[in-house]
Symmetry: C2
Subunit: 259 residues, 2 copies
Amino acid sequence: MPAERIRDHVGAGATTVAAHRRRLRADRARQLADLLRRLLLRGGFPDGVLPHEAAIGADYGASRNTVRQALDLLRAEGLVERLPGVGTIVVAEKYEHGLDRLMGLAETLHEHGPVTNEVRTVGTVSAPAPVAERLGLPDSAEVLHIERLRRLGGLPLSFDVSYLPLDIGAPLLGADLENTDVFRLLESMTGQPLGHADITLEAVSADVHSAAVLGVPRGAAVLMLDRLTHLADGRPVDVEFIRFRGDRIRMSGRMPRFP
Amino acid sequence: MPAERIRDHVGAGATTVAAHRRRLRADRARQLADLLRRLLLRGGFPDGVLPHEAAIGADYGASRNTVRQALDLLRAEGLVERLPGVGTIVVAEKYEHGLDRLMGLAETLHEHGPVTNEVRTVGTVSAPAPVAERLGLPDSAEVLHIERLRRLGGLPLSFDVSYLPLDIGAPLLGADLENTDVFRLLESMTGQPLGHADITLEAVSADVHSAAVLGVPRGAAVLMLDRLTHLADGRPVDVEFIRFRGDRIRMSGRMPRFP
């Protein structure tokens, strides 16, 4: 990224030349980090080792300082580590969760191994008003409430809170929630496939309690999914608040200009 | 949420009773915060003031301590503030960006007011290898490189870095990038609509530089969008790395079980 050809609109006039240079280097480091992040999350370094700093610099037309700063950004995200004598190695896998099709976590990640669920809470509660409303239930109706910490290969991926109508949810009390997606159980128990889900994705900072459950530092970036799942017949049956570890899950899909 | 009816699987046996109670209260506070967050982001408190703590407690069957802890979580996210003598007020609007249809930011948010763009950089650079590859260009081909800080009503929403092939992008050099979506410019300049985009969403912590640009604390949660946009004829024309402020943008859509 040869910087001399970049025309700069906010310009050095407003600041000192040194501050301007720092800003340009920070911009270039971030741009380089974005490119390397994409490569490493997609297995672009098959042996798990990044090229030497000098080689990265040559490939991307970046100075040694910029390369170092870019690698520092990736290290701060928990994606790479530096091993003396070895170089910079990829330490994290960030699993892809599809946005195009509604799937449970175990279903989504089956190629990577089994998902296990630590069921922290399961039982009936009186539905909070916003939950009752979304499920089309009367105020304070009984609902099934489930909290699960979900892991792949022992590593926490997400912390899920679900609310289900009792007529739909009660059979789940005897089911193997530790090893089975709720989606799969719902389909086998109702005898009909799921239809669709309305979702909202947000980036939030982990509160101290969620951070402890997910095994991340307080304030770590969390991909939060609010999902209302419907059966094929249109009935809403599952309100969920899911916190994915930001360093372990990404969501990918295709968006059409004219659906 | 009457806790006494919640059957607990990890149980008090493993910890002290006091620690167990703290965990249950933290769980309930988070659950309550999730419900209130959803309401407030959807305008559920039309006058912008939340009910008194006691009223929230009564509505949700939660103790005063749990309500306070839930409001503290929302305050930490920058969504509410406490005003002495007034109560808890909503201070943030979190705009909805659709996942179902490919749209530019100004197009998406037109009901909320005009989006203005601070063009920080615009110029040609030699395409980094991963950019060239995604755009179907030869290595080191010249591409147009644009960096914009995008605002709504003066408030920073996102920090966008784009790379476009030069034959497509060059006309943008003379265009009103300050006030127009690149998507709209692309459609008017190529004379064809956009087709689709391949997207990846991640939650990341803001590095110090991005945080300064976006006006958020270092480490704040950022919703990062990696997007490759194609024209209707299938040609990939726009590689973007977009950092949305996590406290200002959420992404919503509908996912079918069987597309």
